[in-house]
């Protein structure tokens, strides 16, 4: 089960879900998200589609940040991920997400 560490930026609401949503809206989010979106493809595409198909309610509750989202996989094996947006950061521990990113660039 992925865990979200949102202690440092609860106001921004940056979570694994919003990262994936950001990847899906790369045009608005800029380079970092574009790169991340590319990293997720094609696995992420499937996840994004899945997320989109789960309903409009999820879209309403997560606001994608206006600026770029930058993802730093500190340790892919441990699933240790940092996500940066605006002046906030969030620490995630998500082995599955880290593994998919690692596979995408490999």
């Amino acid at each position: 089960m992925p865990s979200d560490d949102t202690q440092s930026s609860p106001a921004m609401g940056v979570s694994r879900r919003s990262v994936i949503r950001g990847a899906a809206t790369a045009g608005a989010a800029g380079l970092a998200v574009t790169a991340f979106g590319a990293a997720l493809s094609p696995a992420a595409a499937a996840s994004t589609r899945a997320a989109s198909s789960t309903g409009a309610a999820a879209d309403a509750e997560v606001k994608a940040p206006a600026g770029p989202i930058v993802v730093h996989v500190r340790n892919a094996k441990a699933g240790d991920i940092e996500v940066f947006s605006g002046t906030s950061q969030t620490r995630l521990r998500d082995k599955d997400l880290a593994a998919r990113i690692a596979r995408a660039i490999g």
Partner: protein, 449 residues
């Protein structure tokens, strides 16, 4: 240098590299203090076409601790914004810049200031750099117009200034062969060097200064006139090169990358392996670095580099006794009762801050050796522009101040004479008589001449 290029990481990031901090009771406005933080070391005045400027992506701060815990109680924050008026020219200016609103000035920088009560000012103009007689024909006037009155007794200035710090870098970092004493240097068996006058390596270069003048009452607590001052620069955690747009993208929270309180601390006291860490921490965490102050490496080096010149210092070093005098001067302030009628003690918390007892008025006849010269209005009680901090710290490290805690200790005769051979007169640009006090920057056309 005071803190120019003093640590491995920050030496690669000059825009965020703090070089000097000054804090003094304003001589022409005695109810206020002037706090100055300099950045961008060793600016060559002719360094166009992209002349020097503050970093739009850097958070600059001047901090004040007024309760002695080594944490900031008041922070003034400065953020800069650069506008290119005409992207279709390579020129910094397309004609003379005769006012801050000149349409000829192509690359304009403004800034905002915030303090404890929120935003104090925004859209404030920096002056341009001093390009030369055709581009900035009345530079002094331009810069004077960039002094902003924010109300409430607060004035600010941010922009290029002449470097006021004087130091013989070439000698000090060539294994401390101080030119006035070079004939006494061990020279490692190499041919001897004749003694001679000092060379001011920081003459004819500029810096970028952030200066704020605030009422003393706004920065002190009632009954506690001593404040601790330092500056920091912070960057967002992520910088990503956007190759499509040809610029950096920044993201994440700001984290401190540069710090400066007392002069020369990270430069010559903190060891190489800890310099970057030191730059990232607040003064409140300085206990872990206290051993560098109480057992300074330079004190052990001086008797080795100058054989027979510092026998009493050598014995003191050999004894292993901690240099409580240096710890007081640099890390806690000098407690009452040590020097008659003087204290700038902030409490037991070990923290590198430039401590200023604001109840001591500006001196009418300042002594460049500050407290060592019997002038309590000078370093290490704050720091004035002309204070000879290199000589003061050299002499203190060599043992001149050790009798403050051990009256039986007799400093070596040479200790009280140590100098790199420079004074404020070694600086070509004269300081101003009013805020922001630092002199008009050297112009690009005439420097080098």
């Amino acid at each position: 240098m005071s803190s120019h290029r003093e640590a491995p990481e920050i030496s690669k990031d000059p825009v965020a590299d703090s070089t000097d901090v000054y804090a003094f009771v304003s001589p022409d406005k005695p109810s206020s203090v002037t706090l100055i933080a300099n950045y961008i070391p060793l600016e060559a005045p002719a360094g166009g076409p992209n002349f020097y400027e503050f970093g739009d992506d850097v958070l600059y701060e001047i901090h004040i601790d007024n309760n002695g815990d080594g944490q900031a109680d008041i922070s003034y924050q400065f953020r800069f914004s650069t506008t290119v008026r005409n992207p279709d020219t390579f020129l910094y200016n397309t004609g003379p810049i005769e006012s801050l609103g000149s349409a000829n000035w192509n690359r304009v920088q403004t800034y905002s200031v915030s303090g404890p009560s929120g935003t104090l000012g925004s859209g404030l103009s920096c002056p341009p750099c001093n390009v030369g007689p055709l581009s900035t024909p009345d530079y002094a006037g331009l810069a004077a117009a960039a002094v902003h009155d924010l109300g409430g007794g607060i004035s600010v200035f941010a922009g290029q200034r002449a470097e006021a710090f004087f130091v013989d870098l070439g000698a000090i970092f060539d294994l401390a062969d101080l030119r006035p004493f070079a004939n006494l240097h061990a020279t490692f068996g190499l041919p001897g060097i004749p003694k001679g006058p000092g060379v001011n390596a920081t003459n004819h270069v500029n810096v970028h200064s952030i200066a704020i003048q605030v009422p003393i009452s706004a920065v002190t607590r009632s009954g506690h006139p001593t404040i601790g001052v330092w500056t920091t620069a912070s960057r967002q955690r992520v910088t990503l090169w956007d190759a499509d747009r040809g610029e950096n993208v920044n993201s994440g929270p700001f984290r401190q990358v540069s710090r400066l309180g007392n002069p020369l601390i990270n430069e010559v006291i903190i060891a190489m392996g800890d310099k970057d860490l030191w730059n990232s921490l607040p003064p409140a965490g300085d206990k872990q670095f206290a051993h560098y102050v109480t057992q300074p490496g330079l004190a052990a080096l001086l008797p080795v580099l100058y054989p027979g010149v510092f026998p009493n210092l050598a014995a003191l070093v050999k004894s292993g006794k901690p240099r409580a005098d240096l710890e007081a001067i640099l890390m806690t302030g000098i407690p009452p009762g040590i020097i008659k009628g003087f204290t700038n003690f902030t409490g037991p918390v070990v923290a590198d801050m430039l401590r200023l007892n604001t109840s001591i008025p500006a001196a009418k006849n300042p002594n460049m050796f500050g407290l060592l010269g019997g002038d309590p209005a000078g370093f290490p009680n704050g720091r004035r522009i002309a204070d000879n901090v290199v000589a003061i710290e050299l002499r203190a490290i060599a043992g001149v101040t050790y009798p403050l805690i051990d009256p039986k200790f007799k400093p070596d005769a040479a200790a009280g004479l140590l100098t790199d051979g420079l004074t404020a007169a070694s600086v070509s640009a004269s300081p101003l008589g009013q805020f922001p006090y630092l002199g008009v920057p050297y112009g690009g056309f005439n420097t080098p001449s």
